[in-house]
């Protein structure tokens, strides 16, 4: 704990920092377990009021990174800053965390669990109760407050944990696979909450391997593989820099003329619909002309690459 903790110069910082300073900053962070690097020189920052996606395959080092960010473990080297200052426990009051490995006290009621977690996060019992009431109403969980956790379904429990992470109104929200195990209706509900929180100026780190969710939600991403950043930046920049090489064609006729075409790198043909990737430097117009000669083309669309495609490409390159 630094001695400067309560220095007056820091007191006025919080509101100013919130507007401009990154909520999280990682500088060359490393962490090994038993000689095996889990995080290997990772650097990124999460700007305020942004949703940031930390992506990567299983075992890429996402959870290890998050654990260092919120002080559960310490990096072997490198620096973690929260709200512009080196990480200290007091700053964690401004962090809400939904871990991938989640749990609640099964024999306690939902209300008691939330009050307890709220107290640990620094809330008074009365404030906790007020907020529990508001959140459970908003998420349609008001009837569960007096029920024991063990009586709830997994999806219901997950909603309660979501509330637990947000109860103390954190400025940084860290969510590890927040939608895992949720049905589409609940996923949509929680997505709306996250979007609302971003609009309210909260920074959100969202760790997942579900690319479709990231594409819809995130402003910027960091793709990690084997503890290293493979790709990072704003989502639009990343898509642009990966070129418009993806084409979808709806057609009638025999699609065999597309197979083995010199301009096409890879092809997924569904009979009346094909998805393909052009070779580097290939011209989509040229392909359209070829296709029109052999097929009746109903729709021809040059697309941004999906994040999943970029992900598979980048991670595949490393494998």
């Amino acid at each position: 704990m630094e001695r400067t903790r309560d220095a007056p110069s820091n007191l006025g910082c919080e509101s100013r920092c919130d507007a401009v300073t990154p909520a999280v900053e990682l500088l060359e962070v490393r962490k090994s377990y038993g000689g095996v690097p889990a995080v290997d020189g990772l650097s990124f920052q999460i700007p305020p009021a942004r949703i940031f996606g930390l992506l990567g395959p299983n075992g890429a080092g996402k959870t290890s990174t998050i654990r260092m960010m919120i002080g559960i473990t310490s990096p072997d080297s490198g620096l973690v800053r929260l709200f512009g200052e080196p990480l200290r426990r007091r700053a964690l009051r401004r962090v809400g965390y939904l871990p991938e490995e989640r749990g609640l006290y099964r024999r306690m009621t939902v209300g008691a669990n939330l009050v307890f977690l709220g107290s640990l996060a620094g809330l008074s019992v009365a404030t906790s109760r007020q907020r529990i009431d508001a959140w459970t109403r908003r998420l349609g969980a008001a009837d569960w407050v007096d029920r024991r956790v063990e009586e709830l379904s997994k999806g219901m429990q997950q909603k309660i944990q979501f509330i637990a992470a947000l109860l103390h109104d954190p400025d940084l929200i860290v969510m590890d696979e927040p939608f895992a195990g949720l049905d589409p209706v609940n996923t949509m509900q929680l997505k709306d909450v996250l979007v609302g929180l971003r609009a309210a100026g909260k920074s959100i780190l969202f760790s997942t391997h579900r690319m479709d969710q990231v594409e819809k939600l995130c402003d910027s991403i960091c793709l990690v593989n084997r503890g290293k950043a493979v790709l990072q930046g704003s989502l639009s920049e990343i898509k642009n820099s990966n070129g418009r090489r993806f084409v979808q064609i709806d057609y009638e006729g025999d699609g065999a003329c597309l197979a083995g075409h010199p301009l096409i790198d890879s092809l997924n043909d569904y009979g009346n619909h094909a998805e393909l990737r052009l070779k580097p430097g290939a011209d989509a117009q040229e392909l359209l002309q070829t296709a029109m000669r052999g097929l009746r083309v109903i729709r021809f669309q040059v697309m941004d690459p999906s994040l999943e495609q970029i992900f598979i490409e980048r991670v595949g390159e490393q494998a």
Binding site: R67, I70, G71, R102, Y105, L120, A121
Partner: protein, 424 residues
């Protein structure tokens, strides 16, 4: 990141405490333990005491014993001695002389439960003084002790009579000594053998039982949090040290509450019931004994719960923990096994060493304080060693806890554990 918040420890402890005292098992064990204790400790003590004092057994149905002897006078002396006291629970008759037919008859009376046993004093037995008592009550050691004493009396008395002593002189010479022990330095505290045993055993039973059950409770609680995966949420809000300290304090307070309830009920009972008051006085429960008990119980609990918390963090299931659990429980069992030797020879070097060894000190130093005043330096050394060991155990356990509670699946090797210790 080394900030330690007492407030968070308090919040964690409060949850732990409230959750535990509200459980059915707490209510059950609070009521069942005194009953069990009564069954296992007080009842046998009472029966032994009562039998010894001949006040408990129904004298209308005394234990019937036959003394068969070729020396009728000796048999009569033994019979008289055995049944001398008023309200004696024994009825004895004499059969003289002995014969094989008489023995067969005695055996058949034994089989038909007509008598509880017979002493066979034929010529060789009289010469060698090696006497056989055939009985259906093998376990009644009081009867056997009494009978042995009566026969010894008879042999001695007859010899004195043969040498010309009058019956009055003989009786006066052989009158047994009534021994009462007085605790040194406290003339009002009569330390009778039976009372002392009862005090020590009740308190020691409670201590061993509580240390074990609340230590294991801390371990289970750590495992529950680990297996319910709530630990990671908690770790973001509080440090491992805060969580462990809260858990140990909360669970420990449950133990103290339980013991406090027992003491309160005993005190309330004593104020209302003459019988209980007599019992409490007989058990010689003074304030200093209770203070010693609370101090040593608390220290013992802090030590064992710290170790148990570490063990809980290492393993993933109770089954897995079971075999290592034993290593932790072993010193407690060893200390329990030392209770009797320490009671009988409180100042022997082994007793002193065992009462200084931190893992047995809570039980055995308390016992020595209860039965005898050990030198103050030994008490001080015991407390200091205990406190130092608690500090070390907390330090090591907190480090193991910090890493262990986030490790799921594989059980760590000793090498991994030492790495946790170094790098936590």
């Amino acid at each position: 990141m080394s900030e330690f918040s007492i407030h968070k420890v308090w919040i964690v402890a409060k949850r732990e405490y409230l959750e535990r005292v509200r459980t059915r098992s707490f209510v059950l064990s609070t009521f069942a333990t005194p009953l069990l204790m009564g069954t296992f400790l007080i009842v046998p003590t009472m029966i032994t005491a009562s039998t010894a004092r001949n006040i408990m057994l129904d004298s209308s149905r005394p234990a019937r014993v036959v003394i068969a002897s070729d020396n009728r006078a000796l048999a009569e002396l033994a019979r008289g001695e055995l049944t001398r006291q008023r309200g004696t629970p024994y009825a004895a008759s004499v059969l003289s002389p002995t014969s094989p037919a008489a023995r067969e008859q005695l055996d058949s009376r034994l089989d038909a439960s007509g008598i509880e046993g017979y002493v066979w004093l034929d010529g060789p037995a009289l010469a060698s003084r090696k006497v056989v008592f055939t009985t259906r009550r093998m376990g009644d050691f009081v009867l056997q002790r009494r009978l042995g004493a009566a026969l010894s009396y008879a042999f001695a008395a007859q010899r004195m009579v043969n040498q010309g002593g009058s019956p009055g002189e003989v009786a006066a010479t052989l009158q047994p000594v009534d021994l009462t022990a007085l605790a040194a330095g406290n003339s009002s505290a009569v330390f009778n053998e039976l009372r002392g045993a009862a005090v020590v055993f009740i308190f020691l039973f409670v201590m061993v039982f509580s240390l074990l059950s609340y230590g294991v409770m801390v371990m289970r609680s750590v495992m529950e949090e680990k297996s319910s995966r709530i630990t990671e949420v908690l770790m973001c809000a509080a440090s491992a040290q805060e969580l462990m300290a809260g858990k140990i304090l909360g669970t420990g307070s449950v133990g103290l509450t339980q013991i406090g309830l027992w003491l309160a009920v005993a005190a309330l009972g004593a104020s209302r019931s003459l019988y209980l008051r007599t019992a409490m006085t007989a058990l010689d429960v003074g304030p200093s004994l209770i203070v010693y008990f609370v101090v040593f119980y608390t220290l013992g609990y802090l030590l064992y719960s710290a170790v148990f918390a570490g063990v809980g963090a290492i393993f993933n299931s109770i089954d897995e923990a079971q075999q290592w659990n034993f290593v932790v429980i072993l010193p407690l069992i060893a200390a329990a096994a030392m209770i009797l030797p320490v009671a009988t020879s409180s100042d022997s070097p082994i007793s002193v060493a065992a009462s200084l060894f931190p893992f047995s000190a809570p039980i055995l130093m308390f016992e020595r304080l209860a039965v005898h005043d050990p030198p103050p330096w030994q008490l001080a050394a015991s407390l200091l060693l205990l406190l130092a060991t608690i500090g070390a155990a907390m330090f090591i356990s907190a480090r193991i806890y910090r890493t262990g509670i986030l490790m799921y699946g594989k059980r760590p090797t000793i090498r991994e554990l030492s790495r946790w210790l170094r790098h936590a």
